[in-house]
């Protein structure tokens, strides 16, 4: 196909917008859209592209409520929270320890 005059924006950014955004046409206004294909298009795209996309670091849908309601974000927050708590506890523990006599390494 013809190379279309493009932009320097990455494929991930383009996909994120083109596949996920934009005006949609309501199903009930009597305009015949290629509906069977389109209804499942997004999901099929997702499944087909998930693997490679993840390798490219484009895992935006893992936080997308459409694909992963609640799950991903909650998990991420939990992890961040846990990491912070571990660091905090560790720091407190370390503060307590140096009062002891020097110990052999």
């Amino acid at each position: 196909m013809t190379r279309l005059a493009g932009s320097s924006d990455s494929l991930a950014d383009i996909l994120e917008r083109v596949l996920d955004k934009g005006v949609v046409i309501a199903g009930d206004i009597g305009i015949s859209v290629v509906d069977v294909e389109l209804l499942t298009l997004r999901i099929r795209l997702f499944i087909a592209s998930a693997q490679t996309a993840r390798e490219m670091g484009m895992d935006w849908w893992t936080n997308d409520p459409f694909f992963a309601p609640n799950a991903a974000r909650a998990e991420l927050e939990e992890k961040t929270d846990l990491a912070a708590r571990v660091a905090d506890l560790e720091a407190r523990l370390l503060e307590a320890v140096p009062s002891r006599q020097e110990e052999p390494r």
Binding site: S7, G22, V23, V24, V34, T52, M56, L94
Partner: protein
């Protein structure tokens, strides 16, 4: 029954023909002062998406093509990008779409006119709190003191980066007409799209630059993408309101 004439619809725009630098050139189907940019398409082109290689396969090609058409129109006129893969069965359907959704589409087009979308992303890969200082030659106490200092430094930097990123978002929102938060994968603190009036772009970018310096100094990176057609600000279901 004759075979339908499938049209891939890319964007809603003003009903003003423009020279699009594309081959084959899409065409404009107008209704009153609005138009839809379409091109004949074989729906079979979308079939190959089942087994695609996203990097350089059918999906990448079709998505870039869609984006290129929307951008080509956007260089001349305001646009409402249509969702990728919108295929209608002929000119009649396209006109009917504009007829049914005319007010809705025109209002939205008026809102985004004179604006462009910019993406701002702040990444911050925190140094792992689990890495331990090199214990060689240190007493146990020295080791633990170093370890504590390191954890403290990591925490202070993290807090500073978070504060700066929040300020960046606040300031950018003031320069933008609208903003839309996007999903944030791990390591991404900010991933927001801003709808910026062309007259305010210089101020917007000056702020991004200013904060980027501060964030870079703390180990974070700031990326901007754009200008985009207002993809993130046209979350609209045409026809839905007309029946509501």
């Amino acid at each position: 029954m004759s075979a339908p004439n499938w049209l891939c619809a890319y964007a809603i725009t003003r009903n003003r023909p423009a020279e699009l630098d594309l081959d084959p050139a899409p065409r404009l189907i107008g209704y009153r002062d609005l138009g839809v940019v379409v091109a004949e398409v074989e729906p079979a082109r979308f079939d190959g998406l089942d087994s695609l290689e996203p990097v350089d396969g059918t999906l990448a090609e079709l998505a870039r093509e869609h984006d290129a058409v929307v951008r080509a129109v956007f260089r001349h006129e305001p646009v409402l990008p249509l969702r990728f893969g919108t295929v209608l069965d002929g000119e009649g359907s396209v006109r009917r779409l504009l007829e049914v959704a005319y007010d809705q589409a025109r209002d939205c087009l008026d809102e985004v006119e004179g604006h462009r979308e910019w993406g701002v992303r702040v990444r911050y890969a925190e140094p792992a709190a689990t890495t331990r200082p090199d214990a060689a030659g240190l007493t146990g106490t020295q080791y633990l003191v170093r370890r504590r200092e390191r954890l403290k430094a990591i925490q202070q930097t993290r807090e500073q980066v978070f504060r700066t990123a929040t300020r960046l978002e606040d300031v950018l929102r003031e320069h933008a007409t609208d903003s839309a938060e996007r999903a944030r994968p791990h390591g991404v603190l900010v991933n927001t799209a801003y709808l910026v009036a062309t007259g305010r772009e210089a101020a917007f970018h000056a702020e991004v630059e200013w904060f980027a310096r501060e964030l870079r100094a703390a180990g974070a990176t700031v990326e901007t993408t754009g200008p985009w057609p207002p993809y993130s600000f046209t979350d609209l279901e045409l026809g839905a309101a007309a029946h509501g």
